[in-house]
């Protein structure tokens, strides 16, 4: 079980409050967690990753265990603490105002 923290706008869109939890088969990677998240909440398709290319949108970042995982490869394994559910995987709307 993976714990995922979404930014407020995406929680509203997905109609959830607080953390959400997803199950992944096999290793917990950026791709497998986001695939599971989008499978459970189809409305999130296109909001974190672009439709088609599945590239991370420019002002969305990924953090866990105090590490910035935004530039990790989609297949890279997430930290063990995320895979075991001890720590959440965080999707962040980057501060990009000005």
């Amino acid at each position: 079980m993976i714990r995922v923290l979404l930014p407020a706008h995406l929680r509203t869109l997905a109609r959830v409050e607080g953390e959400v939890q997803v199950e992944v088969e096999g290793p917990a990677t950026l791709r497998s967690v986001l695939d599971a998240l989008e499978a459970r909440f189809p409305v999130l398709k296109g909001t974190i990753r672009d439709h088609g290319t599945l590239r991370r949108r420019p002002f969305v970042r990924f953090f866990a265990c105090q590490q910035d995982l935004s530039h990790d490869a989609p297949e890279a394994r997430l930290p063990e603490a995320v895979a075991t559910g001890a720590e959440p995987f965080m999707v962040i709307g980057a501060m990009a105002g000005g």
């Binding site: 930014p7 407020a8 706008h9 995406l10 509203t12 869109l13 409305v43 398709k45 296109g46 909001t47 974190i48 672009d50 439709h51 088609g52 949108r57 002002f59 969305v60 709307g93 980057a94 990009a96």
Partner: protein, 371 residues
Amino acid sequence: MSAIRLLVGTRKGAFVLTSDGKRQRWEINGPHFAGWEMYHLKGSPADPNRLYASQTSGWFGQKIQRSNDGGQTWEPVGDKFTYEGVPGTHQWYDGTQHPWEFKRVWHLEPSLTDPDTVYAGAEDAALFKTTDGGQSWQELPGLRRAKGHLWQPGAGGMGLHTILLDPSNPQRIYVAISAAGTFRTDDAGKTWKAINRGLKSPYELPDPDAEVGHCVHRIALHRSRPGVLFMQKHWDVMRTDDAGDSWHEVSGNLPTDFGFPIDVHAHEPETIYVVPIKSDSEHFPLDGKLRVYRSRSGGNEWEPLTKGLPQQDCYVNVLRDAMAVDSLQPCGVYFGTTGGQVYASADAGDTWTPIVRDFPAVLSVEAQTLP
């Protein structure tokens, strides 16, 4: 008794404003989708309780929302806008070619007869269509074959912002695109031609006969005469009487012919409205006076409408999709400002009242006349 429902899109959410036919007391409902940019909302003429909304965010991309109960509840539908085939390229600022990239939906135009059919105008400019209530969208790629490689974005982006469906001919559609121009199809969207003859853009386009590249801000028609179009161009108010084959200027005595919206009275096809803005470098009214100008002669002779509008220290803008008319008697006229006011006139523009004063910047206003 008739009622009016206004659909207001703002930089930070959508609002639904309702009134009875007197149009004096308004109920405000919202914000819906708080914090999101709501470029446009529009109801189906065939089923007024079926609404569509374009919800966008620089962070989280494009969503399309649909309501089946007049905006009380909403559900997300499809938001995958994929250019047909190889997306190709268009002109970039430095003269090179740049790939087409989907950014957002500027405008949604529901079919006049089928609540499940909607057209969507996108940035980078393209026209999409759904026939399943928004679940899936397909591009009408013939439009970009109308010299799309020569289109170039303006400062506001290369958005397809206006879609006019000809009520007398389902095969005919007009669209307008920022910094590209106006286009028409006569075969329901398969093939398109640029219809910009007569537009003059000497500062932007050195070629006086350029087929594309004109910065059209808005076009409008009256349903009883769909071959007559009115246009607010970047500069100049224009008119065509032959479905866009040729245009002539009708700016007449306007104090400035720069502006964004233009609309037509619901019952008088020769009565049109614009909001003159000082210039392209100063996007606010002349002399701090917010004035709608009305022509009852299809252009050239214009009168300022000022009663109820601020006549000093007003420096707001009125964006291209932020004016609408209802179809009651007398005709109601509405517009929203970048300062967050929505003004209503229940007497065809003679007098105005603010419905709200402190919304986020208004991007779009649509009026529904309900039985």
